[in-house]
Symmetry: C2
Subunit: 339 residues, 2 copies
Amino acid sequence: MSQRRSGRPTLADVARRAGVGPITVSRALRRPDKVSPDTRARIEKAVRELNYVPDPQARVLASGRSDVIGVVLPSLTNNVYADVLQGIHDAVADTAFQVQIANTRYAVEEEDRLIALFASQRPAAMLVTGLDQSEATRRFLGAVDFPLVQIMEKGETAADMLVGFSHHDAAKESVRHLAARGYRRIGFVGARLDPRMHRRREGWREALVEAGMGPPFREALDPAPTSVMLGRTLLARLLDEGPDLDAVFCANDDLALGALFECRARGLDVPGRIGIVGFNDLEMMAAAVPSITSIQTRRYRMGRIAIEMLVERIAGREPEARRVDLGFELIARDSTRRG
Amino acid sequence: MSQRRSGRPTLADVARRAGVGPITVSRALRRPDKVSPDTRARIEKAVRELNYVPDPQARVLASGRSDVIGVVLPSLTNNVYADVLQGIHDAVADTAFQVQIANTRYAVEEEDRLIALFASQRPAAMLVTGLDQSEATRRFLGAVDFPLVQIMEKGETAADMLVGFSHHDAAKESVRHLAARGYRRIGFVGARLDPRMHRRREGWREALVEAGMGPPFREALDPAPTSVMLGRTLLARLLDEGPDLDAVFCANDDLALGALFECRARGLDVPGRIGIVGFNDLEMMAAAVPSITSIQTRRYRMGRIAIEMLVERIAGREPEARRVDLGFELIARDSTRRG
DNA sequence: ATCGAGTATGATAGCGCTAACATCCTGTCA
DNA sequence: TGACAGGATGTTAGCGCTATCATACTCGAT
């Protein structure tokens, strides 16, 4: 009848060697303070001698507690989410939890599917990107029985916890910065057309209106994934449509770099003839020539804090705040140094 | 004594509803052909009605088979590994396996620790980056009882399976390309100083020697993580040490972009005065002005194929080959268009 | 000595599933 | 009609761990 045993030592082996019951070993490993010092020492010795490692699957099954934190991201290759993921990983490394990553590729149906799949596996907690799930999924997330954190945004509609910042406000600040530097005909380029891009676009519009610089609006959008080449193409389109354009707010840094290259290809001076602002402040923005003004966002911290909040809640504690606004900072550089 | 049940339906619930024994349900789910068509239909109906999802933990515990593929990468933020990870994820999405990711941050001790940790959890298979583990870990990997694939390299010393390409040969081809374009004083810049960088450096040296263009060698190295700014700094160092430098082979594209910017900052014409070759052919290389010559590598495919090989082996089949050389291609662009 | 409170350990059952073997059918053939 | 092969299903035990309750022991207060 014997199921084939795995061959490696079990908790029972340790117990036998240490001359105690299995449950005591279990306790010694989980709540060392609940076991007398010398039994604990004997157990630790046995653990070392046998090279015992607890089986996480069995632990989960017996305790009913899962150790998996589900993480739903729209992209793995985008620098932004790579940084977030790094923060998530580092935060999780300090704990006994595991991460399971799902990649929606910016598709809402895929997001629906993956969130449902994760939830069915009873994760210890879940991290989801953004606030713009489908209506059904939003309702679903509002009712799950594990801690949930949404990232990347600031807002009132989070299902549970939220860490992020306002893309809208950051975009407005970018436009105000350009206006203060004397730029007047400020275009927008955006790719992918995901919710965050739309919020940035709205911020750009609103700031233009407030400054009396629009409508009409100069914008070039493309649903394709963002790329440096697309930045070139989109700026080219803006320039062809309105050659008097004097600045561009780019929805991200790849596009901004492309815009810089397009200016170079056309012999347009940056910042003299054209001002450029990017978004995210990737490392290369500071190294570019001219260096590129950008919005610094705290992507790594966002990942870290999101996990820390989840871990607090899993432990039954309350995090300092359920809504964290990490803010942003406009880093002014040469690409807007005019006047 | 009742452990608190999870509340969701179990296999036993399905069995009761379908009027069969639990084991039949188990079989119907795993080996549908072993169950008669109409019992199967009843079971499927019950599964649907109860919205039953099998508990993977219990399955693992009972069967002794894990569904986790451990993936050990040196970085998550580096574009190269982000692409590899995407390939891994996509390939795994077609299967019933899960990925567990570990990030060594290019530290050998961390790699030792993480590989041992993964192995102790009895993964279904494991993917490890590179061939340069510590001696102890290499021996250990040679003796594990699950399929293993190493990625990123070409060589004879793989513990089990291998997918990658020759960094050494790619570097040599870069230098030959530069030489063919008339460049003579070809430097090297490298960051991080990881094994792949060293192989590229060796290839560069060897090609220089073969072409009678060295020693001495012009190189600038830095153990810091790679960055565009570091590319600027290192090219600056090379130029300051030997102002007659006329080309640079960069260990990766970030450095190459930095080199381009440094040339721009100094008013040095590329490709006229300085030729630049990068490595990996990130998207931005084609969009830069001037566009940058680079070595195209198949990072996404590498991730995909590695997983496919593992899955074949887990299923007890033999993959087409245990060593796959994905090759590389030098993409000649404007940054070396001279003469 | 008795009691109660607190601490340390143990006995038992069970988490949800699958392996291994056992049994029960059904149909076929002598 | 009985023997038998082969497919479908059931019985039993167990994977490695933890929850729950029970028990044993210590110690100070009465």
